[in-house]
Subunit: 116 residues, 2 copies
């Protein structure tokens, strides 16, 4: 079931959610970090550094750094792949799931408040 948004609805939704996210959350993830986080939680595993770099169209160190930062924040975790120890498997965490759950609620709330 697709969603039909008008141009002003689309931008107003983005505006309201971004603004609330800035006001509420001190963690201030970059757009890249947010993309990585959402991808890890919404797309079936496994997720690797190389795979994410390809999907986002960025270099591997970008992914490594993003995982460092979000790992410190408790939003993701890393584990060696025991079947091929060159790989690192990126895992979800409880805190990460909670973070995205709140973001989802925020989007839903702001969607309800839309007009025109």
């Amino acid at each position: 079931m697709p969603i039909e948004l008008s141009a002003s609805q689309a931008l107003n939704l983005w505006h309201a959610v971004s603004l609330e996210q800035v006001r509420i959350d001190n963690r201030d993830l970059t757009l890249r970090q947010m993309s990585i986080l959402l991808h890890i939680y919404l797309v079936p595993p496994p997720h690797t550094v190389r795979g994410l770099a390809g999907i986002l169209g960025v270099t591997k160190p970008v992914i490594t750094r993003a995982l460092d930062t979000m790992g410190d924040l408790g939003l993701v975790a890393r584990m060696r792949d025991e079947r091929d120890r060159r790989n690192v498997i990126i895992k979800r965490t409880v805190d990460g799931a909670l973070y995205l759950e709140k973001l989802g609620d925020l989007i839903i709330d702001q969607g309800r408040k839309l007009s025109i």
Copy 2:
């Protein structure tokens, strides 16, 4: 007319748009910069540094820096307020309008592709 989104629709929408934005655009605005830009273009003027700082819950230098950066990118412009020359009025630009128009299209497109 409010929009009713399910939790997975909300997050999938955010995911798809963020991902496309990362892949397509090299300018990589921070969430704060994006909030400021959307606010300037969606809320009736006038917009001042102090006003934006209050709305976003950040300090004034954060706004000044964001305007510096987005000014260099051509997304916003600054003008002295001639009626109170302490103030700076933040103006929209053609490039900024174009940037947000593309973002709006992206959100609309990804909304159409949603399922479940």
